[in-house]
Structure formats: C-alpha cells, structure tokens
Symmetry: C2
C-alpha cells in the first residue's frame, strides 16, 4: 500500500474522521483509523460504534490531482498521533506507505515517521444501508435544523430517549424536536416529493452535534437514509452513520399551549442582553432564575435577586404587549439558549399564566418553536 | 461615594487589578476590589498578599474626561461579579455609587445592579515603598527580559528559591536568570547611570508572569524599586507590588561551560520545527526525549523512538558544524521553550560532550543565554 497525497486534503479528511474516534473504547482497533487505498481514491474510516464516519478523497477531481503513485491496499493507523503528524509535516505533499509486516512509513520532505500499524481486516465492517427511499435536503438547512434543536436534549441518562432529537417526516414536512422536559425546541421545514414517512426516529444529540461540526455551510444536498436502528447522512465525499436510540419518543404536541393570555413582541437582542445581565449574579446557582414582570407603557422589568450578593433590575421596552398582567420566573440559561438560536430580529412570546409553559417564536417565522417551563418561586 | 466613568477605561483597569485577586484567600476581604474615589481620579486595588496591584484612572488626561460627577469616598466591591458586570453593561458610561450602609449601585442605561459592599477601612493598606534609589527601563525591554527567562523557573516547591527569577543589577548591567536545575535561561541588558546595585533579589515567577500580562508593549519607562522583601514596578498609572522570595539564589555562573567541543550554527525555525515533529510520538511520556546526532556535510539528524508507537527521524542542514562528532539526548520541551523565546533568525549551539550542559544563543546577540542539561540514555 502506498500513495502520495496533498497534505491539505489529508488534514481536512483526518479531522472529520477523528470526530468518530474515541481513545476510550472497548474495542482496541477502534482507537485506530482505517486507510483504504484504491486507484480511484483514498477512504479514511473511524468509528466509536455509536458513530461511524468515512471520508473519501478522490485521486482526481475536476482536473485536480489529489492523490498520486497509488499502490492499492489497506492499513489501520494509530489515530492518537496521526492528526498532529499530518498537521506538522513540512511539505505540501505526504507519502504514506505500509509494508506486509504492517509497518507504516509517513514521509514529507526530510521527515520520516515509522509507525506500527494494524491489520485492516480486523477493523469492523460498516453496515451498508440498503434502502432505496432517501430524503435529500440542502446541507445548510440540515445544519440549522440541528443547531436550533439539539441544545435542548437532555443530558441525563434517566430517560435515555430524551438525549436524542426526534426526527419526523410526515405530510411532506421534516421536523426536528428536542426536549429535556423543562424546555422544548422544534423546527420544521417543507420537503418536496418525499417518498417516505417516519415518526419515531430518535438520533443521539451527540451524533448530530458531531455531524454539524463536519458539514460545510453549503447548499449542496445531504442524502438521509433511515433503517430500524441506524441513520445515514451522505454528502459527496462523506458517509456519516449513527445508531438510533431505542424506545418511543414522547408525544410533545400536547405540551404546547394552544391559547395565550399575555402576548408580547420584542427585539431579540434587547431581550437577550437584558437577560444575560440579569443572570450575572445568579450564575453559580443551580437554577439561574430571573423574573419577568409586565409593567404599563409596553415595558417589561427583568430582575434577579441573590440575597448574599445583591440584586439586578432592568427595564426593556417592547414593541407590543397585550393581555393579562404577568409575573413569571424562569431559567435564564434556557431563555438565552432559545434566543441565541433564533436568527431573527424580533420574537413573539406567548404566555398562559405564571405556572404554564410559554412559547417563543420569531415574529416572522412560525416554523421555529421554543418552549420553556417556568420555575415556581415563593 | 459616587462617580460616572467611561466604561472602556473601567474595563481595562478592572482586568489589570483582577490579576492580583484570588477567590481562594485566607483573608475574606481580599476577594474584593477596593475602589477609592478622589476628585483627581479613581484608584482600583486588588491583592492576594503575594501580589498587589493598583490601577489609577485620572479624572481627566490630555484634555479627555474619563471620570465625572465625583463625590469622594471608598468601598470594597465583590470582585467575583464585577468584571462581568462592567463588561456586559449596555452603555458607554457607568455610574457607581455607594451609600453609608455599604450598598453599592451600578447603573448603565436602564440596567441597575445593587450589590453588598464592604468597608474600605478593612482593606489592608499596601506598603508604600520608600526608596529613593530606583531603576528605570523601557517597558518593552522589561517584557522581553521576563518572557525570555520566566518559563525556566521551577514549578516544584522542593527548592522554593528556584520558583523565582533572580534579578541582578551590577556594573551597570541588569540581568534576569531562571533555572529549575535542568535548564537555565538568562538575559542581560545594559543600564545607564544606575545609582544602585543588588544581586540577591528573587521575584516569584508567577508575579512576573502576571506583570507581563498587564504591561503594554511600549517604550514608556517602568520604574523599579527594591527593598528587603518587596519589589515595586511602577508605570504612569500602574503600581505593581510583589513580595520577594526568601533565601539565597544559587550561583549559576559556574554551570555555564567556558569551552566547547562541538559548535553549530543553524536556522532557529528549521531546528524548532524539526524538534517539534520529533517530539510528537513521545508527547505523553514524562521525559519527552529526542536525540541529536551530527552527520557529515553539515547535517544533523534528530530522532525519537517510542517502542510501542514508532520512530521518527529527520535531517536538518545547518549553516556550520565544527568540532567533535556528537550524539546527545535532551528534553524536546526544554529545547522548544528555549528556541521559541529567541527572536532571532539564527542560533549558535555549543556542546561540551554528550553528558555536559549545552548552550544556545542567538548568533548575533550574546545577551541571551539558554542552557539545557542533557538526558542520559543507555
């Protein structure tokens, strides 16, 4: 096995594949990265058995040669040192060679690394998903679906199903929903000509977070395939496979109040910065709680009180404030998380009393919904 | 006590003074920052009893008004929350007020923080150094003296004196020396008209590291005053006081070999990058050791061997290589630390055999000296 590759190409692929490789794994060979060399190109593979990632570097693409002097073969290389080695090599090209004794040589300029490899035959084969029914959406849309929901998954293993994001495809609508039972984030997008429907697909939040780091912010399509226990995201040169979570995702639609008693419209950044300041004194406390009180003349007051330290209060002028007077307490962190993912200038917030969950949506976009359960204060 | 201050000015001063404030201190009031308000300006003070820092903001400077509406007085404010509050306030100015009950109010725009303050009378008085004999050097020179030596102090408390930098002023020469007994870094600069001499001043490495973060990279002078147990660095608006370490600093001049058997001249970056690569496989081992071997034709070979992982070798062409053949092993980390602080293109390295310390100096500057004790390998 031998090839000479453009170092920049190799760095990018190695970085992507490393996101699936853990140094703590029960299967020793999974601490390694598989390099598979074919005349048409190089495939790098990593897996921690939850996530598996393949990155492909074609030998030639659009007339540009990425890989040369190819002798076919495969090897597994220790992933711990490989990214640093590749990143710090002196020249623009890297030669990688493996001999029949599994000795790997990496050369660039005058630098030569000799590493002990492992037999690629021992690396687990990734399942190839055989489903004809796939869904295709632009990469940047997928990234925003992930970003606007994944932060709300539970980090507690007490209800494992809530550590995932529920992905549904129904009535030509793709929706992502996450909740840790104290808050909920959901976003939906229309999909044209979807040939399939599914409703109980739950992808671990960690998988989607890693996927989001790898995907470039382009309009190029991502193909999504789903089976009983796995989901595949595939772009031109990337193959990202994640296991699904077992169990039934709870029905969340009934959590969302249908009526509201107090409605306000406010500039997103004004509210975000005010809540950020109000949370400063309560930062270290478990329930970083702030209080929102409606005042007359389209004014809200945001306050927070930490008896040992002090008190903070700030008024925010809103664009519109209608309905019942309200005094409600909630987690500043949840509110900041929700407001930060909303890329719109203005939001609408709908309350149904101090003890009921409230809803935040962009004023001009009903497809995003953030729900927060208030905190009882006495 | 009351004043209105430009927020940017306050942020900068608070950041500087915070470097002396520790949340873990035996004296509770030292978790606070003292604010002293006079008609001519505001002084902020912090101290962890090792280091004390005062930052002064004049009410007016060069026709620009920094502080207004001044009512004199003093208060101690909880330092833990103060920097974040100041940084996140909405407006360009901040109003700070303390009432006789030690309640502090911070206002900016519509935001208002009410904090519990402490009595400024309870804050320890900083000793005012009364020495007429001071030394003045440009700030950027002081910064480079610190940067080129402080990394070599010992981090072990077994010989506390070695955790400091030895500062000497003799024969119109100011010198900084640090050693952890495995390596030594020293730098000297000529000083004009020094009225004082001292040789056993040892400043904690941590103090100099913090000082270096605060000092701006300018040619403005720093005044240095020394007493038996303290050293003061003073710029126009900054007063930085550190305790000195007790004990006698070891005589280091006899460590430095006077003769050499192998001398080489090499490009600093070439050697730095080669050693960086050679150290990659040994990164996790305690003695990240690399081996340097002289070859013919002005070539060095740098190698490193980690039996479990693999081997790395790289040749470096030097500018000149004279004297005995050599094969020597040393800590890659020490070599990288030394080479990184040398701001010159080329270095001269003088060896006196594989078991003796060797010296690295810039080819064109004898005032910087880095010494490394080799590692015995069998």
């Amino acid at each position: 096995m031998k090839f000479i590759i453009q170092r920049e190409q190799l760095i990018a692929s190695v970085q992507d594949v490393m996101k699936a490789i853990s140094s703590r794994t029960a299967i020793p060979i999974l601490t390694g990265m598989k390099i598979d060399v074919r005349h048409h190109g190089i495939t790098l593979t990593g897996s921690d058995s939850d996530i598996s990632i393949e990155s492909y570097i074609p030998a030639e693409e659009a007339g540009i040669v990425h890989v040369e002097n190819i002798e076919e073969g495969s090897i597994v290389i220790q992933a711990r040192y490989f990214p640093d080695i590749v990143r710090k090599l002196p020249e623009k090209t890297v030669e990688i060679e493996a001999d029949p004794n599994l000795k790997v040589t990496i050369r660039s300029g005058k630098a030569e690394f000799n590493l002990n490899g492992q037999d690629a035959e021992e690396f687990p084969h990734l399942p190839k998903l055989q489903t004809e029914n796939s869904l295709s959406i632009p990469t940047d849309i997928l990234k925003s679906l992930i970003r606007q929901t994944v932060f709300a998954v539970s980090t507690m293993e007490t209800r494992p199903i809530l550590t995932g994001v529920n992905i549904k495809l129904e009535n030509n609508t793709l929706s992502f929903t996450a909740t840790d039972s104290h808050r909920l984030a959901s976003r939906e997008v229309p999909v044209n000509n979807a040939e399939i429907e599914f409703s109980n697909v739950v992808v671990p939040g960690k998988s989607l977070t890693e996927l989001n780091k790898i995907l470039a912010d382009t309009e190029e399509p991502v193909e999504i395939n789903v089976t009983n226990n796995q989901i595949l995201f595939r772009t031109k040169h990337l193959y990202f496979l994640s296991r699904l979570l077992d169990g039934n995702y709870p029905e969340t639609s009934r959590l969302i109040p249908e009526q509201s008693k107090t409605v306000l419209y406010v500039n997103t950044k004004d509210l975000l910065h005010t809540i950020d300041r109000a949370s400063l004194l309560a930062k270290d406390e478990r329930n970083n709680v702030v209080k929102l009180t409606t005042k007359s003349n389209q004014v809200l007051e945001i306050t927070s009180n930490s008896p040992e330290i002090g008190r903070v209060a700030e008024e925010v002028t809103v664009q519109s404030l209608e309905g019942e007077e309200l005094r409600i307490s909630f987690s500043a962190k949840y509110m900041l998380d929700a407001l930060k993912t909303i890329d719109y200038d203005d939001v609408k917030i709908e309350f149904t009393g101090a003890m009921r969950p409230f809803i935040i949506r962009p004023t001009d976009d009903q497809s995003i919904l953030q729900l927060i359960v208030p905190v009882r204060t006495y």
